[in-house]
Symmetry: C4
């Protein structure tokens, strides 16, 4: 399951580049017109990188895979698979309301799917498992959905603020989930 | 062979998103126009998830790979590889007869290919193998083609019913093949 | 190197479906118009399947990878990576001369690249290696280029005959390289 | 991390072919018109092959992966992921100034990202590690950015010379990084 998920995220992070529209013309200003698309690409690249990173650590702490976990995982991959779609919609319509909200809804759905997967794995392994200890109170996991909902709301007022919120959440997560990493290492030694 | 097949299905499940046409405009109604395509995408995502899941379990119970099995596997991957093609045809022509029938024909061909692969592996391993025991009478495997044929027929009367049948088959399979999982675990312990 | 090559071929075999143009309309005749493209897709799918199969067996008999072998392998992957390109050119121009010849030239280049890779590996392992014994006189490997050249020539007379030759070569190879499989198994036991 | 990176590079090297525009017409001159795109494709294929090769050797000499290394690696993959984008822009605008400069800037950024990753790994492993010994003074790694900057500058004078410089750097690197290969082998024996 880990190899399959890694594969899907690797493909998603890569095929996004196929959605980048080619600049019209051969001037810097042609490239400048592509800038919003490129920036949306960078943001989504970072988000998929964060998911790959944390997901990878979580699955390393998972030893038994039930049918429910498999489908919770595919559910997460489903929302991640829509990222290239929402990214190109957002990028090609410079900070329009609905694409900015749709982008946030996809991020929110992925965050919820990640949370469900995490809970299922912990329930399966018991509350005293490595993963449960590693995740702890999971402040970041609980704050992110609240921030996404804020961002989605802001999209209807000032879309640029919505995107700013998404950037902030990405920055919060950019620090990889060292808790799991550390606890797994500790449990293994 | 398992890694290669997992890779192909991971790629298929992902490249489908590239076939999603971008909404024309930045309103919710633009996204609403994309709804049939998105729903077709969800259905195909679930189908490829089911195939990945069951195929993965089946190959874990397969220890010897003959030339025949290799080609039966590629035959299955061929029909699965057409899923993005039939999906986008179905999604972009809201419940038209021929695309709905073509979608069902592809599902039928994939189901037959899966059945052939299963038989080849069981023949190779002997009727008393783990897989043979796990598959058992294979009610789902036998009912699916009948339902697909029904769906293909219904496409010529009321296409929406055809799609409803495909959704029902997906729901039947959504429960992962716990028989194999359970029997393999039992045999391994 | 094996995982990377398997990955590249898995991706190639899959992204070809993205090159399939969507049928114009929702009738069987619209699908019928797509038939040449679909048939070209089937032929290329079989060719990539053959390469995956034989390449996979060859690398399993390869234990040491030098820089030269790495680049000979990438050289082979380069010609295989052009298959989706030549396939869609051939399929969309029903049996035109130049696309039919270009398709054959790509197959010829891939065959030569495969032969070079095989020779490099055998030279590296010694003439008494498992692979050298398995390949033997390599009749198929020597006949294929001759047939491809014949096909390329025929493209300028009757393109349909060129494609017929490519189909024949595919059929010759469809039998997986059991020699390697058998010899490797024998050497392992 | 190695499997994920290999996967991303395998996908990049492959999806580039999807960016190749289909020849308009069925004559050799139609293919001739595609020649600049095809040559840009060859150059980028070689570059991605070089990165895969050296990156693969570097990660084999890396035993511990910190959060910083993970993100330095994703940073490298980000610049590599833009290669299909800059390649098609360069190829479709026969030697125009800005695309030729943009192509070089992407190569430069990837080279810097590779250097940062290498330094991070060496810092993590200590100056007496296998990798530090293998990389040595890293003449090629230090010369490449200088050459890229030269190429970017030349793009504003004679774009064809810029591309010539990029070809020269590729040729310099085409010899795989045998130092690492050799030192790793020596350390392992």
């Amino acid at each position: 399951m880990e190899a399959f998920s890694d594969g899907v995220i690797a493909i998603l992070i890569t095929v996004m580049v196929l959605e980048l529209p080619k600049p019209h013309g051969v001037t810097w200003s042609a490239l400048h017109d592509s800038l919003p698309v490129l920036l949306a690409y960078v943001l989504s690249f970072v988000y998929l990188g964060i998911y790959w990173n944390n997901h990878h650590h979580m699955l390393q702490a998972t030893h038994r895979v039930s049918g429910g976990i498999l489908w919770a995982n595919l559910h997460l991959l489903f929302w991640l698979s829509l990222v290239p779609f929402t990214t190109s919609w957002l990028g090609e319509n410079r900070l329009a309301t609905v694409p900015a909200a749709a982008y946030g809804i996809d991020l929110l759905a992925a965050a919820v799917a990640y949370y469900l997967l995490e809970r299922l794995i912990i329930r399966d392994q018991g509350e005293h498992s490595v993963l449960a200890a590693a995740v702890g109170r999971d402040l970041k996991g609980k704050a992110s959905p609240v921030l996404y909902v804020t961002g989605i709301g802001l999209a209807f007022v000032t879309p640029v603020l919505a995107v700013a919120v998404y950037v902030v959440v990405a920055l919060i997560w950019l620090v990889p989930d060292r808790r799991v990493e550390r606890t797994v290492t500790a449990a293994g030694s």
